[in-house]
Symmetry: C2
Subunit: 412 residues, 2 copies
Amino acid sequence: MRVELISIGDELLIGQTVNTNASWIGSQFSKQGISVDNSVTIKDTENAIISALDVAIYRSDVIILTGGLGPTKDDITKKVLAGYFSTELVINEEVLTRVRGFFEARGKEMLDINIQQAALPKSAIILHNEVGTASGMWFQQDEKVILSLPGVPYEMKHLLSTQGFDMLMKKFRVQKLYNRTVQFQGIGESYLADKISDIEDSLAKKNIKLAYLPSTGMLRLRFSGKFSDEVENDISKSIDELYKRLSKHLFGGEKKSLSEVVGDLLIKENAKVGTVESCTGGAIAKELVQVPGSSRYFEGSIICYSNELKRNIVEVKKIALEKYGAVSEEVVLQMAKNGQKKLNVNYCIATSGVAGPTGGSEDKPVGLVWIGIAGPNSVRAYRFQFGNNRGRNIQSSVLTALNLLRCHILKL
Amino acid sequence: MRVELISIGDELLIGQTVNTNASWIGSQFSKQGISVDNSVTIKDTENAIISALDVAIYRSDVIILTGGLGPTKDDITKKVLAGYFSTELVINEEVLTRVRGFFEARGKEMLDINIQQAALPKSAIILHNEVGTASGMWFQQDEKVILSLPGVPYEMKHLLSTQGFDMLMKKFRVQKLYNRTVQFQGIGESYLADKISDIEDSLAKKNIKLAYLPSTGMLRLRFSGKFSDEVENDISKSIDELYKRLSKHLFGGEKKSLSEVVGDLLIKENAKVGTVESCTGGAIAKELVQVPGSSRYFEGSIICYSNELKRNIVEVKKIALEKYGAVSEEVVLQMAKNGQKKLNVNYCIATSGVAGPTGGSEDKPVGLVWIGIAGPNSVRAYRFQFGNNRGRNIQSSVLTALNLLRCHILKL
């Protein structure tokens, strides 16, 4: 099953929009052990679409087109495809009813160009769009499938996830892969590989593969093997073992972010959290607040970027700042403890560090970050040495701090 | 000049990396009035590279390849190109010296595979890489140019900006475009177009074009015309006029972000800033702190997500919270004024709103945000109604608040 993507749209070629559709579709096929062989981006002209289709039909089995299905004049994909496959556009009553409902629900007037969105190629199988007005279209020619989808990311994802992928797997009799992904914080790729080499070896014998997917301050590990109860069981057992072995780093599956995992724990404990941030400058608070409903556990923060505020609002002792400096174990401990009281929370995260690019010294180089965690019964500080990049240092500090809080709550 | 991009790398096809190189190159050509006609992403195999080159050389004049120039075995682009253009790899002494210097400067040992990075195709013109070890390679065939660049974004950008673009413009005798971009906050595309229709019309007569480039909470406007003193002068005059007409929204050119512009103003005034945030939960502080050196003007923040903290730390009056609710003019005014004192700053930004997706009411729907700005002589509150998306509401609030602060400092 050779897969090719055709992304249609001038906005992609002139760089006004980054093509995240292509990478998302690639990652979804990759989860099924299928690789996309070619991905092309073209202008929204009839010639460009026809040329790309000619090439793709020659070399690929599955061609997924995205874009050009909107109601306006520059959206020509549907017409070009109807011509290419020598079929006519006919109003699909089911689609028309849904498009009409879509406008009614939003209290918007339905124009003739919107009605035209229900005019679809007669020979195509229609994929029904529950989240927008452009339908997906499935054409077949010589055992090849050409699937046209809207370019709006959430509409495209909806159509592929709910219908497209299943239809493709069935049509090409692809044995589905079973996938599970777990997420780690605070452990590097090579170090993790070393810690789990025995598990990886024994899974390899059963044709279950591991993929390491790193990003700043995080690492995702994906298990995949052919769908069977045995494979599901083997992967499940291995993950249980990982949870035991690496509980300080393994924070969950792929559905929830670290801040959501921490939020769930806080809700379970009926506990409140706050932060006292220096070098992260509010980035931990922002990450916590990103989660809808975080007001159930997030109380607030003090961002004491200056030493004056560390003293005046957080009441860090003057002597500690003078003797050890702001970036020190003693100061983050005071920040965490005092913050806990002032913010009236069960848990308080504190950070102080040298985010860079300047401001480092021999003793306290750029990337040095102290993180303090105060909990109901204890307060602890941890030292980290990150790199030279300001943005990445802040991001690493945020994720590290949230994971330390997780460990603190779970007493790991 | 028909331009085609070939991005090489499995990581792009399986969606592990989003192809930002293609969009950056597209945007740079677009600035010169040149459109990229095709952009293809392929596997890093010899066959895939050769097939893509065959097609590209047939239909395009300029072919830019990115990726596959690293020192490891899976980086095969250089070898494939040498074969394709029937030339041999020879050590380039100038490049070898620089690569050696690169390793010496970092105190790292230079391995044989690194020496091989100085082995380059004899017939290619070499583009010298000052920020990495992979050189750019310029091949010509039948008046067509094939330019191979590393896939690391900053190395690719460096080679194109310092050498590649100029060489292409010269070779194809393209008259360069003069471009200037200005950035707006708090004004929509259609509203701006209406306000400046007379300017747009008169520039159109001189073949100077405007491009509207919107993003969440922001709008960039790009002017472009053929390089000449007259065009430069016309654009410059128009921008001066825009600064007069739309001073509340036009915050600067494209080189600085809004938080940098605000930072510059604060440095100039020798003033300090702080924030008291509820619905933005630290996102304004984070945006200010992103700027290296922001400790010169950013003191800190109080994130009072809960009403208890609004009362206990910010000392918002209980009666105000009870009578008007947390999301109200009265409360943000108190937050801004009290924050100014507590944080000991000249300017204080305060926010309180319903970020969503839930928590809205008839009176105070999701997306309602109050922003308060306290300055040396006055305090004011502003009401905004954003949309339904939590992330976009927070981002819009951040940019709106920073722009209000800019207006406040400049007394606009």
